[in-house]
Amino acid sequence: MESSAEQNIVNIEINDISLQVEPGQMLIEVADANGVAIPRFCYHKKLSTSANCRMCLVEVEKAPKMLPACATQVMNGMKVWTKSPKAIAAQKSVMEFLLINHPLDCPVCDQGGECDLQDIAMGYGGDQTRYQERRRIVKDKDYGALVSTEMSRCIHCTRCVRFGEEVGGIAEIGGTGRGDHMEIGTYVQKSLSSELSGNIIDLCPVGALLSKPFLYSARAWELQSYLSIAPHDAVGSNIKIQTRNGKIMRVVPADNEEVNESWISDRDRFSYLGANESRVTSPMVRNSSGNLVETNWQAALDTVIKSFTEIIATDGGSAVGAIASPSSSVEEFYLLQKFMRGLGSNNIDFRLQQQDFSAGAEQSAPKLELSLQEIETQNSIFIIGSDIQREQPLLSHRVRKATLAGAVVSTINPKTIEFNFAISTSVKTDKLTPALAGVAKELLSRGLGGDLNLEQLLTDGAVNIAVEAEHKEIADSLVNGENSMVLLGALAYRDQNQSRIYSLATAISKMSNSSLNIVTEGANALGGVLAGAVPYHSAGKVEVSECGVDVAEMISNPPKGVVLFGVEADKDLAGDDSAIDSLGSGFVVAITPFMDRLTYEHADVVLPLAGFGESSGTFVNAEGRWQSFSGAVKPLGEARPGWKILRVLGSSAELQGFELDSSEQVLNEVKALCDVTADKSEPEISNWSAPTDLGNIEAEMVKPIPLYEVDAVVRRSAPLQEQAKKLTGGVDDV
């Protein structure tokens, strides 16, 4: 087919340069791809076209008027001039119109130095105004604690409006009034409720929408940028940590189409404001009168080694254990488990909120079978026990995009949870297992069970499983969807019946030929499993001779010596206060950036850990993508990166294999063990087999963790906490 090849190419000329381009593209896309600069304000590659600013007017042969490059499709034979006298005249006219009512306050505007209007005005603006009238004054809006407004600067590009509708999934901002009385805003006094609201700061091409916490604190050109990875969920959003004089000034997204596109969540953007709250800046030991007192590193390390050596000498290696944050880096997980195993203990865990560990090594690691981008192409999505919009905001955005493209979504969730995308079948329940079993039984009854041996579990077992109409609908949508996925979230993972829920979800995915996708807590849960920070295997899934105990067991039956690594025990761990307190009964080593209650009351040694942005490391996101980052600022006070602390602990305990010079060296060791070459872990084959009973079928579902309570850094960010208070409705109030 000769013609089809031709149809896939359009020949155009831009500024007399011939280009062969794909049909269907807009001129501005082609120009951008070919390095032709066309000024623009309203156009944004991730938003719908509005063509309202008119800045991108260009001359097109045979067109009687200048045409907006953002809304003009390439046509074969088209000749375009972006800098012809006519095009420049039109662009200058538009620039003049934009500037007549824009305040001349660049010197005091936070956008200065990174302002599209300022930049483009340098090329297209006049040096004197012909406008003698009063400039428009627009009352500022109160969008809450995160976004500051200076609405007289607004040029009505509507990027923020379109973002709300198209990405945020909640239409909160609009343009009210008309003509030059039109105001962009919420009309009524209202804090923005989208968990992605901060992105409008980046989208705003002028200084109308600004970061409230960053306001007047630095100029853009004073900042140094460090690429990093956001540590609050399993998406692995790419961020830039921007610093001045060794201090973190703000966090902005780094584009990565495969991961976070151009966006980050408000949690990722504003958590840095909690990074230096209640920090531990010096090693401490508890003295004989029971008080924590500052000491030097050597003394503190000696105390740890001495006590641990004594405990192990008396009670064996299994008398010590370690609990790590699920947002620890791969390097930290790896060295921590290496340290514990070197001491003879397999008691290590990071699954802080999990209650049921009976699946053990039978269960595959918490990983998406699909890539984040592939989620967008699903036709049927079954969400099991997940407040996904708040657990993983940008993964949820991919789900939302799938729904906008026509995907049907079904859920089994507690009643309180709502989403910013359409749900076709929603089972709202307090008990996850029966509903999930209903769906599985329905699929089995359709003869899809194959050799999975599910009969004992679903039809012949002691419990009679009711199949409801909704269960059939869910089964229908999964079976009928050409691309269907099962998504198992944190609520399912935190369930008292987690192992059976995992089994049922696996069975459902196998019977319906759907992918099985798991996301749980923290930024690096998958990394934790791969690096061996679990009781049942070491790095690279090397099975251990004697399985250690899990975190729940360590809480209910505390080891004589315990390392808490990056954990704010009384907030991060499942269980009530007295249970948590019992952890403090033994010898507690708290390696932590923050002073918290358990540390303050019970820790015997406190080792100051580098905080957010202060150390290098690697996170493996939910897709299995290994993303490394470097430190952006020096650790505060005497704090040290986790891998260095653990290296010294290992050496001090005279353990083998701690002669490591850099975090890269640690990483390479883990990668070699995990057989990872291309920075991407492939899906593993789980040795799953059907259980014979449904376990604790009456288990009540746990409550979701509120958006701004997920970890110690977020909990300390005052603006996020203030925003949470301002918001009404949703689960934040629960």
């Binding site: 909640i170 239409a171 909160e172 901002i173 609009g174 343009g175 009210t176 009034g177 008309r178 919420t186 009309y187 009524v188």
Partner: protein, 166 residues
């Protein structure tokens, strides 16, 4: 507690029925007019929010519509809203005298409401009755050929008629 009466609701439903089932938002203009009429001629945020709920649309989308079209009032208005066209054809036919006379008789300026709450005087754009200029609109009715130089009593009669209705 709903602020929209049952009869207004059924009126709105009749409008909803004119449009495709999934396009309820199309009835928003009619709905705002209906609830405004029922609320003495103006809208409140609460009413707009109810309309949003009724028509399953974001509240901001209702605010956008209510603030875009000039016939919706977001502040209290008098019992009678006298809309005076001052655009070109009316202007050429002495609409200034109409405004002057109304301002004089009512003791308010354009954009204001009389102290007794009876009248709001509003300048409006072309009412589309240019061959009968000058024109004012009050409620559903047009009053035409009001040039005081030609018909000296017409404005007095109009005001008397409106007062009589009250």
């Amino acid at each position: 507690m709903s602020m929209i009466s049952d009869s207004a609701r059924s009126d709105i439903e009749n409008w909803v029925d004119k449009y495709p089932a999934e396009e309820k938002q199309s009835a928003v203009m009619a709905a705002l007019r209906i609830v405004q009429d029922e609320n003495s001629g103006s809208l409140t945020t609460e009413l707009m929010n109810e309309v949003a709920t009724l028509l399953e649309m974001p509240e901001i989308a209702v605010y956008e519509v209510a603030t875009f079209y000039s016939m919706y009032e977001l502040k209290l208005v008098g019992r009678h809203k006298i809309c005076v066209c001052t655009n070109i054809s009316c202007m050429l036919n002495n609409s200034k005298a109409v405004v002057d006379k109304l301002e004089d008789k009512l003791g308010v300026k354009l954009g204001e409401t009389t102290a007794d709450g009876e009248f709001t005087l509003k300048e409006v754009e072309c009412l589309g009755a240019c061959v009968n200029a000058p024109v004012v609109q009050v409620g559903e009715n047009y009053y035409e050929h009001l040039n005081p130089a030609i018909n000296p009593d017409k404005i007095d009669q109009l005001l008397a008629e409106l007062r009589g209705e009250s």
